[in-house]
């Protein structure tokens, strides 16, 4: 028997309201909900209760509130679970589609995520120092009056003055990375040593893991402090993690340094290349007792932290005020008196970036996102096609009472599920790929940026929360992006039309139009990618075609250095180099040997030209710089450099005769614009080269000593017997594989002096390959992205047109039976593909013109996009598109009208 409800108006209306509210409740729990609220109403309307109208209103509102809450809960749990389950089922039912879609997504999301982790680590992440955003680099700037100012290094005297004068920046600290030879720990080895101010450790928040860091005791007081702190890795590998490390000594450049502390694991200094640290005061012993006293002996950079409450603008103006006083306080050396000096402040994060590396990384990231865009458009096209064939399903669901919003939600859930599967796999791929990418990019773009600061530590690349969020947002965005169009199409389904008509003849509402638009996007984006890739390829080819000015084949290169201590011990560097040369020359397999700068290796010396007989007006303030090297006799013969004029360096050019110099063509033209330079003199700020100067005895072809793509530079060559240097490059011409001689050369040096390390032993070919790694890897990756995009576009176009042909089978059959010839049928199909491709190419050309401007800085020997490149990639894309459209077109030609019509 049903409850005996009171029949008064208030109760009747309340029950009606409950009925309305119950519609909001998910069907599964609707009955129970209604029962419970009926019971509640019964209780409220019981005869003994005196409930006024207000209580009834509150009651009804409460019921609606609860109903809405139930609905929200239901949405959250049940329908989403349902949709996901349904989505997974549909995906499993078409495993081919699901697998290829997931793979495509996994690769593109994985690649984007891995590259993003690099961008995150180098551009976005906060450096691991306290208040890293308040860290600043203080530059010292020099230039000519009215000319541009360029950053330079600090000298210790000027740095001291800066520290005394400037209050707005705290913990001002100098740092400089040098190499020192480690001995008395196995065979001699060159390690990275940072010379630092003691305050750098509190500045960077670094505390000693053992012992102590530098303190007040190591501030320069005019005496040398031979103390060192060592890095964690150094302590582990060289000192066997000895617990009693503090107090031991380590021998660097033949000097014994007392170890006072070990730094925490992972810290490698601001430069990222330090194994050990020594205080500036040690330079009084490492270099010479006056090393810190010459205000123009400049070699290090300065960092500090903005004082509390000080803005960077305040600090900047204070530092600029200081900068203006530099030349009056520290008179410039003779001949450079016109130099103007200034100082500036740059945020640390900005200062450490290497612009070329930034452009490379952003270009790669942009490219990978474009590939993802193509993949997304491709998937949207595939899903549209599937959606069209699932129209009956949609129609049935709608006619069975599914709301359109429910339908859209379900389709979106499906595409999001697919994206999640792809994104998850992509994340796994990125997880594994990020290490490889880090090592690769370390080689390719270098990890050292402006002011020698490290900007990317490949070891710390990881999928952190920020990268994770990026991957999740990307996956969600992609899922919605490729799901939206099919969902919209489904929402417009008219169940009557769909169910009544035959499935094969339904023309999808968002059919060819929507997919055509997607193809246009894909073609356009692919064209941008291909144009970028071909520009980089052309630039790389230019780079590899550059005439180096020497023969890089069969050339073994290495670097070694004597120390000031060796000199003090009575070793004459000129005699030593000569002896070493003689011994190497005697080795079997050596065709020739010389000293000098190792191209793309060093040691590099730049010096100002103080004067030239060919240009009387030339003075040091004009900042004409020349790249100098001390070479052995027969240098150009060994290297295969063309002697244009005059002669090579000879054995007789020693310190008993006048100083001689050989110039490259650029230097000869710059310093002696008129007449032959032979027999005329130039002045250099080296001992013995000022006053009398050096006589030009030869002119040789320009050599490419740095990374290909650098502008031409002035180069000078002097005999090492006239200009002795402690360090030198060794260049050995071999008659076989250069690497085969490495061990023998090493042994020869060890035999001569066991305390000297031979470093950077490498064939010239390998060295050149290392230098061009960045452009090569960037180009290769862009090429791969371009190829992938081409493939995706072809697949997308093929899929779309094949689908259109399949759906138009009846129409095409009808046309054929009415007498249309096969060619015109094929053209009908082809025209569809050609139209969208041409539209895409048009859009792409505009896009490429705009986008490739950002590659400008990376290009060598090409000014940017030229019509040849654009036409080339357009033709390529068009050809591929034609091929992709041809296959379904051929199928259209072969349609048998009888079969097509009977199939209905």
């Amino acid at each position: 028997m049903t409850p005996a409800w009171p029949t008064d108006l208030a109760t009747r209306w309340s029950r009606r309201a409950l009925g309305l509210a119950s519609r909001l409740v998910p069907a599964a729990s609707r009955t129970e909900w209604r029962h419970e609220w009926d019971a509640e109403l019964w209780h409220l309307r019981r005869p003994s209760a005196s409930s006024g109208p207000l209580r009834l209103v509150v009651f009804v509102l409460g019921a609606f509130w609860h109903a809405l809450w139930e609905r929200k809960e239901g949405w959250r749990l049940e329908s989403v679970r349902q949709d996901v389950r349904y989505g997974l089922r549909t995906l499993v039912r078409s495993p081919g589609f699901a697998a290829s879609a997931a793979l495509m997504l996994a690769l593109s999301i994985g690649a984007s995520t891995a590259l993003f982790s690099v961008i995150e680590a180098s551009l976005l992440a906060t450096p691991p120092f306290p208040q890293a955003d308040r860290l600043v680099v203080v530059d010292t700037l020099f230039g000519m009056p009215g000319g541009p100012m360029g950053p330079s290094e600090w000298s210790y005297r000027r740095f001291q003055a800066l520290r005394d004068d400037v209050q707005s920046i705290e913990d001002l600290s100098g740092y400089e990375l040098r190499t020192m030879t480690l001995t008395e720990m196995g065979s001699p080895e060159v390690i990275g040593v940072e010379t630092v101010s003691p305050s750098i450790f509190p500045l960077l928040g670094v505390q000693a893991a053992r012992g102590r860091v530098f303190g007040r005791a190591e501030e320069d007081d005019g005496t040398a402090d031979l103390v060192a702190v060592v890095g964690h890795a150094f302590w582990r590998t060289r000192l066997g993690s000895a617990p009693d490390v503090v107090g031991r000594t380590v021998t660097l450049d033949q000097l014994r340094f007392q170890i006072v502390g070990v730094l925490p694991e992972g810290f490698e200094g601001l430069t990222g290349g330090a194994d050990a640290w020594i205080p500036f005061s040690a330079l009084r012993e490492v270099e010479n007792p006056g090393a810190l006293d010459d205000a123009w002996n400049q070699y290090f950079s300065v960092v500090g932290r903005l004082a509390p409450g000080v803005s960077i603008e305040t600090a900047r103006s204070e530092v600029e005020t200081f900068g203006a006083t530099i030349t009056t306080r520290f008179p410039a050396p003779v001949g450079a008196t016109r130099i103007v000096a200034s100082a500036g402040v740059v945020p640390y994060r900005e200062a450490r970036m290497n612009p070329l590396a930034r452009t490379s990384m952003l270009a790669l990231f942009a490219a990978v996102v474009l590939v993802l865009l193509i993949a997304t458009a491709n998937l949207a096209g595939l899903l549209l096609a599937r959606g069209a064939s699932r129209q009956r399903e949609a129609a049935i669901r709608v006619s069975l009472g599914a709301g359109r919003s429910r339908l859209v939600r379900q389709l979106l859930t499906e595409s999001l599920t697919l994206a999640a599967v792809g994104g998850g796999l992509g994340l796994v791929a990125a997880w594994f790929g990020v290490g490889v990418l880090g090592a690769w990019l370390g080689d390719a773009i270098g990890t050292s940026g402006g002011r020698g600061l490290e900007y990317l530590d490949p070891d710390v690349l990881s999928i952190n929360w920020r990268v994770l969020v990026f991957a999740i947002v990307l996956t969600g965005g992609v899922g919605i992006a490729f799901g939206l169009l099919p969902a919209w199409q489904a929402a417009r389904t008219d169940p009557n039309a769909s169910l009544k008509s035959d499935r094969r003849t339904v023309v999808g509402s968002a059919g060819p139009g929507g997919r055509g638009g997607l193809i246009v996007v894909q073609v356009a984006v692919a064209l941008v990618l291909l144009a970028g890739a071909s520009l980089m390829m052309r630039s790389l080819a230019n780079m590899q075609r550059v005439d180096l000015g020497y023969d890089p084949d069969n050339l073994l290169t290495a670097i070694y250095s004597l120390t000031p201590a060796d000199e003090q011990a009575g070793i004459d560097s000129g005699t030593f180099h000569g002896e070493f040369l003689e011994r190497v020359r005697g080795l079997a397999g050596v065709v020739g040997v010389t000293l000098g700068e190792v191209p793309m290796g060093g040691p590099t010396r730049q010096t100002l030209v103080m004067g030239s007989e060919g240009r009387p007006e030339l003075n040091p303030a004009m900042h004409v710089r020349i790249r100098m090297q001390a070479v052995a006799d027969g240098h150009f013969g060994v290297l295969g450099t063309r002697v244009v004029m005059g002669r090579d360096i000879e054995f007789a050019d020693d310190d008993r005769v006048d100083r001689v110099i050989v110039l490259n063509e650029t230097a000869a033209a710059e310093l002696f614009p008129e007449g032959s330079p032979l027999g005329r003199r130039i002045q250099l700020p080296w001992p013995g080269y000022l006053g009398m100067g050096a006589t030009v005895v030869g002119v040789v072809a320009d050599q490419q000593l740095g990374e290909p793509g650098r502008p031409r530079e002035l180069q000078g060559f002097v005999p090492f017997r006239q200009a002795p240097q402690l360090d030198s490059g060794l260049l050995v011409r071999t008659d076989g594989r250069p690497g085969d001689l490495a061990a023998q050369v090493r042994a020869t040096l060890a035999d001569l002096n066991p305390n000297i390390a031979l470093t950077s032993v490498m064939s010239m070919r390998d060295r050149a390959a290392g230098v061009t790694a960045r452009p090569r890897i960037v180009t290769m990756l862009l090429g791969v992205f371009g190829a992938v995009s081409l493939f995706l576009v072809a697949a997308g176009l093929y899929g779309t047109i094949a689908f259109a042909v399949a759906r138009r089978t009846r129409e095409l059959g009808l046309r054929a039976s009415l007498g249309a010839d096969r060619l015109s049928l094929a053209m009908l199909v082809l025209r569809q593909g050609i139209g969208v491709t041409l539209a895409g190419i048009l859009v792409g050309v505009v896009g490429a013109t705009w986008a490739t401007r950002y590659l400008q800085g990376l290009l060598f020997g090409t000014d940017g996009l030229d019509p040849a490149v654009l036409i080339g990639v357009s033709v390529l894309l068009f050809g591929v598109a034609l091929l992709a459209a041809y296959i379904p077109a051929r199928r259209a030609m072969r349609i048998d009208p009888m079969v097509a019509l009977r199939a209905e």
Binding site: M1, P3, E32, A39, L61, G62, E73
Partner: protein, 73 residues
């Protein structure tokens, strides 16, 4: 408001602090009224209640001490 009571009851049920049980249909029909749903506290619910009580007491104590401490000064 009854709406908040029911949403709270649902949440308590989801956490198994209370257990809902429908009344026997026969009884409701005999009395010619809708079926009632009876809620009982589970042992888990009881201990959660205990805990919450203790927390509130501790909080009240803390607040009282803070207030009296402040007025002393």
């Amino acid at each position: 408001m009854p709406g908040t009571v029911y949403t709270t009851l649902r949440r308590l049920e989801a956490r198994r602090f209370v257990e809902g049980r429908w009344e026997d249909a026969a009884i409701a029909e005999a009395e010619r009224r809708p079926r009632r749903r009876y809620y009982t506290l589970t042992p888990q619910g009881a201990s959660a209640l205990e805990e919450a009580g203790e927390r509130l007491t501790a909080l009240a104590r803390g607040v009282r001490r803070a207030v009296s401490g402040a007025s002393d000064r």
